[in-house]
Symmetry: none
Subunit: 222 residues, 4 copies
Amino acid sequence: MGISERREREKLERRKTILACAKELILSQGVEHINMEEIARKAELSKATVYLYFSSKEILLNEICEDAARNFLYHVKPFLDTGLTGMAALKCFWGGFLELFGNSDEMIIIFKVRNYLNSSLPVFLLKEQSKSQHVDEILVAMGKLIDQCKAEGFFDPNLDSVTATRLLLSVFSITVEKAACIPLEARKSPAFIEEMTNTFQIIIRGFAGDGVDRSYLNIAGV
Amino acid sequence: MGISERREREKLERRKTILACAKELILSQGVEHINMEEIARKAELSKATVYLYFSSKEILLNEICEDAARNFLYHVKPFLDTGLTGMAALKCFWGGFLELFGNSDEMIIIFKVRNYLNSSLPVFLLKEQSKSQHVDEILVAMGKLIDQCKAEGFFDPNLDSVTATRLLLSVFSITVEKAACIPLEARKSPAFIEEMTNTFQIIIRGFAGDGVDRSYLNIAGV
Amino acid sequence: MGISERREREKLERRKTILACAKELILSQGVEHINMEEIARKAELSKATVYLYFSSKEILLNEICEDAARNFLYHVKPFLDTGLTGMAALKCFWGGFLELFGNSDEMIIIFKVRNYLNSSLPVFLLKEQSKSQHVDEILVAMGKLIDQCKAEGFFDPNLDSVTATRLLLSVFSITVEKAACIPLEARKSPAFIEEMTNTFQIIIRGFAGDGVDRSYLNIAGV
Amino acid sequence: MGISERREREKLERRKTILACAKELILSQGVEHINMEEIARKAELSKATVYLYFSSKEILLNEICEDAARNFLYHVKPFLDTGLTGMAALKCFWGGFLELFGNSDEMIIIFKVRNYLNSSLPVFLLKEQSKSQHVDEILVAMGKLIDQCKAEGFFDPNLDSVTATRLLLSVFSITVEKAACIPLEARKSPAFIEEMTNTFQIIIRGFAGDGVDRSYLNIAGV
DNA sequence: TATGAATGAGTGTTCATTCAT
DNA sequence: AATGAATGAACACTCATTCAT
């Protein structure tokens, strides 16, 4: 039984290796330029072997996306459903985003691959027709946060939650897509981080209720 | 010489025809699904002839994009560099956008094609590396408007113009991409127009200076 | 030794299981659409194990064919080498064929697989180059019957036995191939049985000597 | 205009070349072993060029088949719908078959390719679901001849025309398939021709009405 | 100028077979 | 003896681009 366990472990490892290789290739050349051959080569496997683990290119890409979304959720969930106020949660949420963003490329992957798969469908319409569990979960979580902020008086009571969620996600998406194109180091430079934060801050202010004091809306810093 | 002029005219006409056909195909099937064959067929020309006018697929697509941007500028420019306040100009700008958006598909074309061409490059990075004159011009014009609004006290004086311009363009981009995926009629429905306007409004509010009265920031209606 | 006997028995059993599964798959999806993977899965074994019992796909298929032929012979042999006249034997032979045909799919298997294996080789040439013992035996038996009928004056003395045997087998083959394509129930309908019998009857009449009374040539009924 | 005519001619020629190459390959290695690459190579063209003339492998094969059937019909039609008795027509029909068979490989092609295309469907069921104009026409013509022979008293009035046509075609099919596997010279040897004729003769005798004099049923010779 | 014709370089997917454990 | 895992070799089909006429 020790054997079969080891086998299982190795198999999972291979899966991971393949996914990791594909991810790397996506990051370096763009989703639209990768092919199964190359993924296999990078993973030092034959194409046929890759098909042993993923029955089609689409399934492989989907898995990559789900994986990244799962990862993102894992980083960000702790900040949801806490006793915090909506704004405090959002702040944490943003912190989690930045941290994850600084340490991995999950976000880039999520948006790039998703856009490729349903190429004609914008990211934030996915809800209706995707089969993506985790990507959807992110959407739902963000919607809840926005509702909470409305309920607590931070956000404009007239703000349409759906519109707001979409906008937020869109801006994330664009931010990430942009990030995907600049060298890794630049991506982690304080300047870039600041610009991202500013962008997020603008949106949050745009969401705010009339007359809400800006000090409550701060997303960055302590 | 009359002859050579006619020739020239006919040549330009043909260029336009090709571009128009390509545009139509892009709108109906998406950039990623068109090929030179089809464009040629639709233009009732041979593939080789199309190559006579556009030396590569990329150049053709780029031209389409430029064309659409030129068109957009043409509609929107009248509202810039007028004696209006920045906010009034922005309001007009938005009106122009909506009108153009309602009457043609230029915006969709611009963003879809651009995204396809530098698929790994986000729209608002174009400045640095694109050869697109007119798309750039839009960026510059928007930047100026934002600066004016800052100068006139509508927008936060700390607002970074570049960040803001990029954000604005990004949101346009996303909006348009989304629009490109829904049926024509829905695209022109009041509900959809309203959602777009709300989104734009949120951004404008986000740009606003601290304590600026919201009534000044109104983008829609009279 | 009891152990090794059991082992041997189990081994044979496994062979049979594999063959049976392959047969079933052939019948349900056609020879050209089965693969080793599926056969293995159906037999609840690994592909590699299947290769332990049959060193190649071709050999496995050949075995299936042999098996079916053996089965056919077993059903049909009792009617050969009896004291009966050639015609009576042929009648019995036909009865045996029909009975077997109604109760199993051996005939279909034989012809379908054979045709697939030597797809460019017609069934009735097998003699020369096949390694199929039992299929050959059928040919020999049929040849003998025809010779007997000639000797007894039923068939044309000028009839070439080889030609006749081939023709007979061909017609069986075609009949069976056809049968393989219609639903099981239709295959056992009186109408279909009648058409098969008519076909066989035509051939027998074609073999008949000049002036032989047709009542002697009856293949069907009592 | 001379130019465009020449072009058209050359194009047709290329089509023919491709078909001819494919045909040759089919004859030498069997339908199931040819691929587009090889066809192209043999025709000294690129694969892509072959696809310019035939939009899929299936269409190419179908064309080959139709072509052969057309050819066969062209050779055989003169003998149908003449003032001749059915038996005389059948004799001529057989003569035409032999002549064509001796001079080309049309018959082989027809049966081999057809069997490959509808691999699970026996040749003589084609009627119901094939889109093959010419192959169908052959069936119809044969059916008519058989009916005429019945009407004229040569064939058994109880003979079912459909059964008979199928049988006839089947035997042709098998004959041809067999022929396809032996070297060209052997195929044209008197011995082989004689065996084919004998086979056909047997069937005709099998079709005959009770008591019809054999001299009327002669298929061969003068 | 216009075009019909040709093609090289892919691209996703399948399957019989082998081999270390 | 049994198997999970791996793979080489195919194969149908596509498309941007070139070139002789």
